[in-house]
């Protein structure tokens, strides 16, 4: 089974730290990352996403403040609790779709046409 992923589009207008934070909340709320799951270090996630360490640190810090994550010296960063709220899953799915469409160089009109075509099918 493949492990959960984070997708960041640095050109979609949403701050990368917020994209990381929102996707982590979605994965934790959906039980893809249950309580007790270990997360990668800030340095690892930042290197893999090609972001500054401070960007990922901000996402982790926000979630620590909300009590969702906890960081210890021995265990690293782990999921401590479910978020008290969950982001709208439709918005998250739409954001991911837009990110993929942009990476393919598809215009807004063509992307919307593709969505409508799926409804017709």
């Amino acid at each position: 089974m493949s492990s959960p992923r984070i997708v960041v589009d640095v050109e979609n207008g949403v701050a990368p730290w917020r994209q990381v934070r929102d996707q982590l909340i979605l994965l934790i709320s959906g039980d893809v990352l249950p309580v007790g799951s270990r997360l990668p270090t800030i340095r690892q996630l930042a290197a893999d996403l090609g972001l500054a360490a401070g960007t990922v640190a901000r996402a982790y810090r926000e979630l620590e403040t909300e009590g969702v994550l906890t960081t210890g010296r021995r265990q690293g960063t782990v999921v401590a609790a479910l978020p008290s709220y969950a982001p709208n899953p439709l918005s998250a799915a739409a954001a991911e779709f837009v990110a993929v469409a942009r990476s393919l160089g598809v215009s807004e009109g063509d992307a919307l046409d593709a969505v409508r075509a799926c409804y017709v099918e």
Binding site: S3, V7, D9, E11, D48, G50, R102
Partner: protein, 221 residues
Amino acid sequence: MLVNIVIAAVWGLVVLVVLWPTTTTAKRLLKRWEVPHPTAEQLEEGIRYLKRRRLLYPLIFAGLAIAPPWADSGTQLVVIVLGGSLLAELLALRQRRDALRVATLTPRGLFDIASKWVLGSFAVIMAAAAIYLGVHQQWAKMLWLALTVAAVAVIIWAAVARPASGDEVVDMALRTRSVHVSAGLGAALAGVLAAHFLGFIGILAWIAMSNTKPQRTKIKG
């Protein structure tokens, strides 16, 4: 001098041509590192990994032609392989610049990708070689040993820290390979530098470390 460098580079080129990575080579590599049925995409990743190392051979052969003779050709070959790994891992540290970036959430600490036995044995062999060389006051060899330890340490650090690329399973397996094989090469070099009896142990350690399989990393703590 220039002629020697050119001849060495041509030798490197010949080795590169002979060892040019193909789908078959990549399949063998991945099967050995616990990817039993690699897909076409995974094979591409394996070929890329091997090419990154072997394309540097002509350069390293040429570089060694400049260095003063200090060991037999077998030992120098080990240095070439270790040097290739070192440069390849350093090159792989380059950051991604595409707009869309993907990362998996699998933690990747040193002990998530490498065997404690391999790292522990490496440390013990290096310490034994250092003690032997210190007692016999062979300071020139001690310098080579220090360079070997530094090279392996940088490879291990880079194998953990470099950004993920391609398929996750292959990425993790090849990181483990980088750590285990470089630790094995380091142990073999330390053995050769210290003494002939330790050289035999070093070569045995190299074979054992290069065949120690990766463990599966778990996200759940």
